[in-house]
Amino acid sequence: MSATVTEKQRVIFENVSKFYGEVLGVNRVSLSIPPGITGLVGPNGSGKTTLMNLMVGLLRPSRGRISVLGMDSQRPEEFFRHVGYSTQYDAFPPGLNGSQFIRSYLRVHGFGAAEAEAMTWKALERVGLTEAAGRKVAGYSKGMRQRVKLAQAICHQPSVLVLDEPLNGLDPMARAEVISLFRELADGGLHVIVSSHILHEVDLISDQVVLIHGGYVVAEGDIANVRDEMEEEHPAQVSIRCDRPALLASRVFAQDSVMEARIDDDGKGVLVRTRDADRFHLLLNQVVLENGLTIEAVAPADADVNAVYQYLIGSNGEKS
């Protein structure tokens, strides 16, 4: 198979469907995922894990074609030199400690003993697990098990890293460290594909998002662009904290593009709904200058992935 240059740089789904008997897994998914961190977002049961399992060949599509950097997962001997996957399965081979777990599978990759040993410790160091490396994995806490799975996924230096709910069970410190690791890897040119049902978590770490619901991809791309496309149906909301909110509200509400200007409950800010955010920001500058207002903060109130998901699906995407 001759892959195009674009294909060799992207993870591509072409009209992919997966059915479990008559039950829908995912349906007619077409995606083109560039390098960087891609957040796969949706509530539990929406099809995120199915999509990831299809990506790495643990499942076969009922229809359609999947290509990861121009490779087909049906040739695992080549494919998995370039792809690492941390699954959601919280299970480990019995009897092994952390370093044995990583090293054993590196040997299965075909690496020699010394090379596997060095790569094992490098990966364990990356996830901050060197001190617990000699303990049996069965005795690890949930957070440590997540980290050792992550180490196993990155130990062979893949170009594509697929991570299913990798932040589950991590304490805040470990979450911050792992997110920072994702960012470093993505900055180094890797594809890091992360699933989560916690929307704000994905919002923090992703360069682009894929919103999935009921087996369908409902939106894809940079979250701000996705939000902009919804402006007609769901006007943008902007929160302004200032010293004279009543004055600001009266001035901006007089403009056509502003649909609503509501003073905050604490009386120290205004929430504006507008169909034209760009025009509103110009107007705001003008009002501030003309009236000498002191602005504390201006921020979009519904440009995050949570709001986008809510508008698209009618729920907040959290586990119900």
Partner: protein
Amino acid sequence: MSETAASLASPTPAAPAGLPWRRWASQAGAVMRLDLRKGFRRPVGLLLLAAAPIAIALIRVVFSAHAVHERADVAEGTNFYAWMYQILILRLELFLAGVAVFGNLIRREVLDRTLHYYFLSPIRRELLVAAKYLTGVLVTFTLFGISTVISFVLAYLPHDWTAVSPFLFHGPGLRQLGSYLLVTFLACVGYGAVFLALGFFFKSPAVPALGMFGWESIHFLLPPLLKQASVIHYLQSLCPVPIPEGPLAVLSDAPSPWVSVVGLLVLAVILVAVSGWRIRRMEISYDES
């Protein structure tokens, strides 16, 4: 987490150096080591099975005053061992070991939810199956080979050494032992391949195992053509000392040793290849399993 991104985000490493055969051997070795470590840590059931003929032979030694009629008659020991080997070791223990070990080589990984670690490694799935199969053969043949040797020696212990020594070292004794070891090995290979393959077609190995046990048990009643479709037909023909099959047995010509040996090896290769084809198409969905 202090290293730079470049250290991990470096270009993907090339495949380890060496010809594919060398790499495949290295990968198969890694799978076998890992399987031995995690799959056969406490093989209590297998050890008990393998120890059973030793225990029976030991009991015969302890109660030799009653159990052995003529100490100078080595043939009595030979007959005792032929019956024990063919009824207990071959038809029951090696069969059960085949079910327990080979029927669970893949299934246990699915139940433990650990098969995906292999599936996410750059190893040909056919090679994975072959390596797991070889692990099973290694484990079962080691255990039951040792059991065969020890129980064989114990079968002659109650007899006079002056009679046993010429039988063993100048007569057919060691050749018989060699034949029993060959049958043990081929039983591990044959039953192993059968239950490995059946494991890909049935969720639980118990159902096909029961069916096959029935088939193998009544093989002496089957017409000659159907006898050829049983593993025991070929294994039994290689046993050095035949035992009577009873008045209801349908007589047929035993296959030649070469046909039996080559036939069982070819059967094993075919069934392992079928297993390789199945695992190539296998999906992982533990929840459904």
